[in-house]
């Protein structure tokens, strides 16, 4: 989606475009499901145009709508990008292993006075979540979690240079569903 927006925003800055033309282009771009891989640019004397390269078109890959889970500890505050539907405690247990805090509190709306112990099956919904722990924690993933036979957890942790993600495991969660190549 970001790629189409970028193209349309770029076009909107071109001179001589009316709002109607920009709107039509945007509608067209969104309908054609452009990606960086399947967009074909043509440069002519009069300017340039772009079209979809059907042969380069790849299967649509799922995107993961994520919310931020912020865990406040005595020594630091960590942020984890968590997909909607993930059971927070399951994801935290997988990330922290034996460093999992025994008590994790939920802070509704960031109000410390309203904090409550997080329910066991509490899942991420529409809003970001703030949590509080009385003890520091760390990344302590068990080695067997990296093995392929360990696929029974309800969520999948993706460690990335861009952040730590916890995604919901679908019924058939193969690797190609988790990854989106640029």
């Amino acid at each position: 989606m970001g790629f189409q927006h970028a193209i349309c925003n770029g076009i909107a800055f071109l001179q001589g475009q009316t709002p109607v033309e920009v709107h039509e282009m945007m509608t067209e771009a969104l309908q054609r499901r452009f990606t960086a891989a399947n967009t074909r640019w043509k440069i002519d004397r009069d300017g340039f145009s772009f079209d979809t390269d059907e042969f380069a078109c790849r299967p649509t890959l799922s995107m993961h709508a994520t919310r931020d889970v912020t865990l406040k500890c005595p020594t630091e505050t960590v942020r984890i990008h968590t997909e909607r539907g993930v059971i927070i405690l399951d994801g935290l247990k997988m990330l922290t292993g034996d460093a999992m805090p025994s008590v994790v509190s939920l802070i509704p709306g960031g109000n410390m006075d309203a904090r409550v112990t997080i329910p066991l099956r509490y899942a991420i919904r529409e809003a970001d979540v703030q949590l509080l722990s009385d003890v520091p924690t760390a990344l302590r993933i068990k080695l067997d979690a990296f093995q392929t036979r360990e696929n029974q957890a309800s969520c999948i942790v993706v460690l990335s240079a861009k952040g730590t993600f916890i995604l919901r495991r679908e019924r058939v969660a193969c690797l190609s569903q988790m990854c989106f190549s640029p």
Binding site: M1, L61, S62, M63, H64, A65, T66, R67, D68, L71, E76, T77, V78, R79, I80, H81, M94, L95, T96, A99, T137, A138, L139, R140, I141, L143, D144, A145, F146, Q147, T148, E150, N151, Q152, A153, C155, I156, V157, V158, L159, S160, A161, K162, G163, T164, F165, L167, R169, V172, A173, C174, L175, S176, Q177, M178, C179, F180, S181, P182
Partner: protein, 260 residues
């Protein structure tokens, strides 16, 4: 802005960088990578001083040497793996502008859940070990034995070795790297369910492959400290033991009578 996003990366790999088949079921934890790890002989690290202090790892050398170190980390994609685990490399901004950087530090990334310091140092040593051995093709003058090394359920080396090669070939590299970081974690090498002396030639442990060739599978495990489980102390008095229903069991378990 970040509320709808995909995990954008080139590949999802295992802990030691082994690539996964896109069609396989996803493990519980994967690492997202954009770069492929290259090998290196790590010679540049001979010219620097590595300091492991509480909370960070720092590399000290002249500016030009640290440039090479940075290139090494980029080439081997260790910087990317460290970032995935919550640590990243920094230099002093003023020194960078003055082109006089003398210290490269690996510190915790703010607002990220990260490995603890000891785990980071150990993991960094393992990554450098893999970087060093990755480009070893065949070892010895007459490499005829197919040999594979496995660490943490991952095959980390696959090649042919001479019959007279010993595991010291690998052990020396590991001890050199752990020496840089001041950690003591010797491997225990296991072949055919037995711990082997790394100084012994490997020809005695070879088994026949399914198709007739010689094969050697070596498993790297963490060394043991010995001593067995802690002894439990019996805090009961002698008279309590005498009247206990389990007195016989206690005697047979300890191998001698505790009853006076």
């Amino acid at each position: 802005m970040n509320h709808h996003m995909e995990v954008r990366c080139t590949s999802l790999v295992g802990l030691l960088g082994q690539s996964h088949d896109p069609d396989m079921l996803c493990p519980n934890v994967v690492i997202a990578r954009d770069y492929i790890s290259a090998s290196d002989n790590l010679q540049v690290l001979d010219f620097i001083r590595i300091q492991v202090t509480d909370g960070e790892v720092s590399f000290h050398a002249a500016h030009q040497v640290l440039q090479l170190v940075t290139e090494l980390f980029q080439k081997t994609a260790i910087d990317e793996v460290l970032e995935a685990l919550g640590w990243f490399m920094v230099v002093d901004a003023d020194a960078f502008v003055a082109r006089d950087v003398t210290q490269l530090r690996i510190i915790r990334e703010p607002a990220r859940i990260a490995l603890v310091h000891d785990d980071l140092v150990y993991f960094l040593a393992v990554q450098l070990f893999l970087t060093r051995i990755r480009n070893w093709a065949d070892i010895g003058h007459n490499p005829t034995i197919h040999c594979r090394l496995k660490l943490w359920n991952t095959w980390i080396w696959d090649g042919f070795i001479d019959a007279n090669v010993t595991l010291d070939h690998f052990n020396r590299v590991w001890e050199m790297i752990t020496g840089w970081f001041g950690i003591s974690k010797p491997w225990r090498y296991v072949v055919n369910n037995r711990t082997v002396n790394p100084s012994w030639p490997l020809q005695g442990f070879v088994t026949q492959e399914q198709y007739g060739g010689d094969e050697l599978k070596i498993y790297l495990l963490l060394g043991t400290h010995g001593g067995g489980p802690p002894q439990s102390f019996d805090l009961r008095s002698a008279s309590q033991v005498r009247t206990s229903d389990n007195a016989d069991t206690l005697i047979s378990r300890h191998g001698h009578s505790r009853v006076p």
